[in-house]
């Protein structure tokens, strides 16, 4: 960061208080430094100001040589007004109050005031600003404008045109942040309406955000519509476990049911955005297929039982042989994974655990170098290699786009298909499928000044393009790949070649895959596919599935089915009935991520706490608790009582997690050591 002395500052006066701010800072931001509030609708700190709603008007003047203040004849919009030397701002004069009343009366002329049935009611900036700054009555007695209500723009977003105050936040979001420009204002004046092209499907992968930034109830969530009143909801901080990014969210719930997800600000992770996959992908919490009681197989049927009987079955199977294995998948907390490994290593004398389902294993990086997601923003150039970021890691995609949009980073996209990042890429290297390693090597060769003609022929990317791309690569280039690349031929060679070209990131895709790797899951002799193959061939005596549905994560369904059919004993530990459920010998109900305390490591090794939001369903237990209780039956000792104790034990054993237990973590999380 630049030294403070290098920033040019100006002295302004706000409500007779002197204040020094960076030159050019918007007045709407400057007054916040003194704790004054300016009401806003269209202004959003993360987007360019447009001055559309006129709500933020203030009186502005300049100091005259004789010390008096000469006010400008008209009020100014604070959101588009840069601070300059000697500026005098008044946010609280009678004239400002009168003007605000006028603006609000005007905004409310065409607003339907259907607050009693509006989803936004109770958390609506228009309601709040009207309460604090607005007139108590309206002089408008004519018939209001009427427009379609409840227009479904997509399966997630419903548009209520009558309520729109035409602030343009949603339009600017799709232009500036998500970049798909799917929304625009049609028509003009009182008829101006934000909508998609021809009112067709709103296809954005980030459409949920416009619901949150809408300052009225014009864009509402189709899923949440009329489900609850905001003041009836309870809200707790949560972590999204739908991908490895670990976005911070607010989980709103009512009577133990998740009602909606909203973005929570964490500058290091997701700023304040969510992707649609995260925002609308939490239905499983309320699924009717949730598992509530332990089940054991008696004869051909799975029958309800108690925990101790289920444990006995497991212990019998897993201690009678050391030829056992476990497969994990996604969204298991660090605590669960550590307790699982401990149980297998010490109790069951086996280390055949794997969490990773890609064709080749991720490269273990002894230096633990995982530059943070936030640092992408400062990279002068970015190479996105073999990853459709908007689909795989949507929030990382937003960072890459921000780096380009705000800081002018040069983005180079290499993929075998068209991706969303192509729209702002400086160069798109569209290679033939399967030639990843060749292209990566060609980039390295071009950088070293060697000829890349042969590689150009093989990959289908012109040699000039490869050379042009290589010219952009420096040691500070952010090279972004994901574990998806590990499914492609020659993945390790490609990663090896890319490593020397900049700051290589190979992001995991499932929540806490990174944590599993750090804890040491997957250090056995067999990888997940081999474990399944052994099970299929009858070479495995018992298999433990921890929160994973192999049918979902493994492409070879025949292999999965044969494996589950042929393994002698199968434990399915899950929170919801999944594809493996019918094959289970024992079913252990597990808490879903929001139902137990836990910590999660995201793709850039940032570890965050996720406190229990909801109570456990039925008799379901956190997985670590079940493992702890089984260990106790194998070898008496002191069990763990809470997630923090598991975390401390983990910290004692794995250096990276030292001082990163549940209670030791701050709200915004910490990078791993």
């Amino acid at each position: 960061m630049a030294a403070a002395t290098q920033i040019e500052t100006v002295t302004i006066t706000v409500n007779d208080l002197e204040l020094t701010v960076p030159k050019g800072e918007l007045i709407v931001e400057s007054v916040k430094r003194l704790g004054f509030e300016i009401p806003i609708f269209c202004y959003h700190p993360r987007m360019k100001p447009v001055g559309m709603c006129r709500m933020c008007i203030v009186e502005v003047g300049f100091k005259q040589p004789d010390g008096s203040v000469r006010k400008m004849p008209k009020p100014q919009a604070a959101c588009t007004l840069p601070a300059s030397e000697g500026m005098v701002v008044y946010t609280d004069t009678e004239a400002v109050h009168r003007d605000r009343k006028g603006v609000l009366e005007f905004l409310l002329v065409n607003h339907p005031l259907d607050c009693p049935i509006c989803d936004r009611g109770g958390e609506c900036p228009l309601q709040n600003n009207t309460l604090f700054y607005g007139p108590s009555t309206s002089r408008y007695v004519e018939i209001k404008r009427h427009l379609p209500k409840a227009y479904p723009l997509s399966k997630y977003v419903t548009l209520d045109l009558e309520r729109c105050i035409q602030c343009g936040r949603c339009v600017r979001f799709t232009e500036e942040i998500s970049g798909d420009s799917q929304l625009a204002f049609r028509f003009r004046g009182a008829n101006m309406q934000p909508s998609t092209f021809g009112l067709m499907e709103f296809e954005s992968k980030f459409s949920g955000n416009v619901i949150e930034i809408c300052p009225v109830g014009a864009l509402t969530s189709s899923k949440y519509r009329f489900r609850a009143r905001p003041w009836d909801l309870q809200t707790r901080p949560a972590i999204c476990t739908n991908c490895s990014n670990g976005c911070n969210v607010w989980m709103d719930y009512r009577v133990d049911k998740v009602v909606r997800i909203n973005g929570r600000t964490n500058e290091a992770i997701n700023e304040e955005w969510t992707c649609d996959r995260g925002k609308f992908g939490h239905d499983f919490y309320n699924s009717p297929d949730r598992l509530n009681v332990p089940l054991v197989r008696r004869g051909t049927a799975l029958v309800e039982t108690n925990w101790s009987e289920a444990y006995s079955d497991c212990i019998r199977a897993f201690t009678s042989s050391t030829n056992t294995a476990g497969l994990g998948g996604n969204a298991n907390s660090n605590e669960d994974l550590f307790a699982w490994k401990k149980l297998f290593n010490e109790g069951f004398k086996s280390n055949e655990l794997d969490y990773n389902w890609t064709k080749v294993a991720p490269i273990a990086d002894p230096t633990h170098a995982k530059p943070s997601i936030a640092s992408i923003e400062d990279a002068p150039s970015i190479l996105v290699f073999g990853s459709s970021l908007a689909d795989e890691l949507p929030i990382v995609f937003l960072r890459v786009r921000k780096a380009w949009f705000k800081n002018g980073a040069k983005v180079i996209v290499a993929h075998d298909q068209a991706t969303d990042a192509d729209s702002f890429a400086e160069l798109v290297l569209n290679y033939q499928p399967g030639t990843e390693a060749t292209l990566a090597q060609a980039l390295a060769d071009a950088k070293a000044g060697k000829s890349v003609e042969a590689a150009a022929k093989l990959t289908g990317v012109p040699a000039e393009k490869i050379a042009a791309a290589a010219a952009h690569l420096t040691s500070s280039t952010a090279i972004i790949t994901s574990h998806e690349l590990l499914n492609r031929p020659g993945a390790h060679d490609a990663l090896g070649a890319l490593k020397g070209l900049g700051e290589l990131r190979n992001y995991a895709l499932n929540a806490n895959d990174q944590g599993a790797a750090e804890i040491g899951i997957g250090t056995g002799t067999k990888r997940s596919a081999q474990i399944l193959a052994d099970a299929r061939d009858g070479k495995l005596d018992a298999l433990w599935l921890l929160g994973v549905d192999p049918f979902e994560v493994c492409e070879d369904h025949d292999l999965v089915q044969a494996a589950l059919e042929n393994v002698a004993f199968l434990v399915v530990q899950a929170h919801t009935k999944n594809g493996a459920f019918p094959y289970a010998s024992v079913v252990l109900p597990m808490t879903a991520p929001a139902e137990a305390d836990g910590t999660y490591t995201n793709a850039d090794r940032h570890i965050q706490r996720f406190g229990a939001v909801l109570p456990a369903k039925g008799e379901a237990k956190p997985a670590w608790k079940a493992f702890s209780e089984i260990s106790l039956r194998l070898k008496p000792g002191r069990p763990w009582f809470n997630a923090d104790e598991v975390g401390r034990a983990l910290g004692a054993e794995v250096a990276a997690f030292a001082n990163h237990s549940f209670n030791q973590l701050p709200t915004e999380g910490l990078p791993l050591v």
Binding site: P148, K149, A150, Y151, P152, L153, S154, K155, T158, T174, E175, D180, S181, Q182, L183, A184, F185, R186, F187, R188, S195, T196, F197, G198, M200, E201, F202, E203, S222, K223, Y224, R225, F226, R227
Partner: protein, 206 residues
């Protein structure tokens, strides 16, 4: 519950066309002109307005969704953005297909005082169309417009790129007869005139 109060099922929204699904209709001349216009501006966003004029000519005076999508595609802008621009300006015909000739009758103060509403009623009785309507044969569309900035010729009517005024019933009859005998569409002709104005002499299609 919420599904019941939505207009239409949320899952049957038509999706915007993909680039390869567009039916591109610009003529050689239109493509040539657009390429020339692209060089006039620092970025393609600035080229949306002239691009829409080309489309209005190429699509017979009416900018439907396909026309807007084609302009957006050719300028590498989003469909929604171009549609937003097109629907903002009244000289682009986006709401409905106009007739072959658009009778734009000024109804501002001077024309009003000189009898433009009388002419409006006369058109209604003669052609059966009032503001925003098109005759059944698709020849004429009538629109009441704001000041055309030619009060000295009130009451005034604009047809295509020509002003006609001062008008009375007899002159209107003659004008309508003349338009009936006109070969091409004055709406398309005006779009072409505007495109030509944008182009440099060397870029014009001879």
């Amino acid at each position: 519950m919420s599904e019941l109060v939505q207009l239409g099922a949320p899952h049957d929204r038509p999706r915007p066309p993909r680039a390869d699904e567009l039916n591109l209709r610009f003529s050689e001349q239109g493509i040539h002109e657009l390429e020339a216009l692209k060089t006039h501006y620092p970025d393609l966003k600035s080229c949306i307005l002239p691009g829409l004029w080309i489309a209005q000519r190429e699509y017979g005076g009416f900018l439907d969704g396909a026309a807007i999508a084609e302009v957006a595609h050719r300028l590498n802008r989003s469909y929604a953005e171009v549609e937003g621009v097109a629907t903002f300006y009244t000289m682009y015909n986006t709401a409905h297909k106009p007739g072959k000739h658009k009778l734009e009758l000024c109804t501002c103060l001077s024309c009003h005082l000189c009898g433009s509403y009388r002419l409006r009623d006369y058109i209604k009785s003669k052609l059966g169309i009032s503001h925003g309507e098109t005759t059944e044969d698709g020849l004429f569309t009538m629109e009441e417009v704001e000041c055309l900035d030619a009060c000295d010729r009130a009451p005034l009517m604009q047809v295509g790129d020509q002003y006609y005024g001062p008008l009375d019933e007899a002159k209107l009859d003659a004008l309508i007869d003349q338009l009936r005998n006109t070969e091409g569409s004055t709406v398309v002709k005006m779009a072409d005139e505007i495109v030509q104005v944008h182009l440099r002499d060397v870029e014009r299609h001879k």
